[in-house]
Amino acid sequence: MWKDLVLEAKSLACERGGRTIFRELNFAVKSGEAVELRGPNGAGKSSLLRLIAGLNRAAEGALTLGGATHEIAELSHYIGHQEAIKPALSVRENLDFWSHFMGGNTQNALVPFKLERLADDEAALLSEGQRRRLALSRLIAVKRPIWLLDEPTVGLDVTALDDLRKVMQSHLNSGGLIIAATHATLGLAKISTLAIGTTH
């Protein structure tokens, strides 16, 4: 579905509150590749993901996306710690909104994470893991090549973890990119590791 996309970072540096979190970070991710970010707490994994999503600004360096005409943020999914779920709306309404807003299609988007049965329940009733699954359903509802996942496995049970693995693998097979910050093992066929924050 996507081909020849290359996300490249050149001597990237990130500052938060006047303190340098990381610098001279170089990496390249191609279509069909997954990268897991490893590093201790506070090493800047989340900051890097937000930086790629355009939510933070790089102190130095540049991010480029080869093979596409759009901005990186417009082609990216960002699943952060906050799930962007409104408790007053139902599961379906929550997903429908993001899907319409981002120009996607909610047909069958609740199926991969087994949320169909909960579709009409208020999101306030969802458990931690179910909220995560609802947030992850955005990945399916709206097709975007770059997935930026911040601790996607938190709160997921064994079956949901397996579902996530399948969804991620099929995304990679269709030429997508995944960058995930995680402490768990994702178990994907082709995955490289990027360690950050180990220099200091």
Binding site: A53, E83, K86, A88, E93, F97, F101, G103
Partner: protein, 222 residues
């Protein structure tokens, strides 16, 4: 682009309906004014009649202010704002859409209800249409200006006080020309000039408020 904004507007309206928005609180504030003012100033009909339009404007203004600090807070807290900024849409259009949703669900209903309520304070029936006209026009400006305050205080707990201090000065012109439109009806002049100035203020806030709130929210995100 249009589809995204339509989706956002639809969600805001749905949310306001489902979680009660601020309309309930604002409406009871309005009712409290109607009930308490005659007790406070006495049952002098002539006096109440002169005060009615001004007091209704004041109540409308404060009621809208009451709901301002919640405008962007939830979206910032639950991460929705992050996702809203990631699209190709200019952020200003998003703040504008949210302000318009606030107008539709809070300010406009109040502006429609307030004039008939003023009749209970012996407002001259003849000035009802003008009060309606000025309140409907002015309420859009109130929502837009409230969005600036809501954006500035989105990341603060208990930002309500700060919103009042920041936004009240901006509400003064709306109040002055909104009230003068109705009081002039009693004199020889017509209400048109005041209404036109009120319209101008509303149009000006339509341009400035989305820019200002977008700029304020960006400081929280970056």
């Amino acid at each position: 682009m249009g589809q995204s904004l339509k989706a956002l507007l639809a969600r805001e309206v749905l949310l306001a309906r489902k979680q009660g928005g601020g309309l309930g609180a604002a409406l009871s504030f309005l009712l409290a004014v109607i009930v308490l003012v005659p007790l406070a100033v006495g049952p002098d009909l002539a006096l109440l009649s002169r005060l009615a339009a001004g007091l209704m404007w004041l109540a409308l203004l404060l009621a809208v202010l009451l709901t301002a600090d919640r405008m962007f807070q939830q979206d910032l807290d639950d991460g929705s704002l992050d996702l809203l900024t990631m699209g190709a849409l200019p952020f200003e259009l998003i703040t504008l859409t949210k302000a318009i949703a606030h107008w539709l669900m809070v300010s406009l209903p109040l502006a429609l209800i307030a004039p008939p309520l003023a009749l209970m304070m012996n407002l001259d029936v003849a000035s009802l249409p003008v009060l309606w006209l000025s309140m409907i026009t002015g309420s859009l400006a109130l929502s837009l200006l409230a969005s600036i305050g809501g954006a500035i205080t989105a990341g603060l707990r208990r930002g309500g006080l700060l919103v009042s201090i920041l936004i009240l000065p901006l509400y003064v012109p709306v109040l002055i020309f909104g009230v003068s439109a109705t009081t002039l009806m009693m004199g020889p002049q017509t209400a048109t000039p005041s209404l036109l100035i009120l319209l101008a203020i509303t149009l000006l806030s339509l341009v400035v408020a989305p820019l200002a709130s977008a700029a304020a929210l960006r400081t929280y995100l970056r």
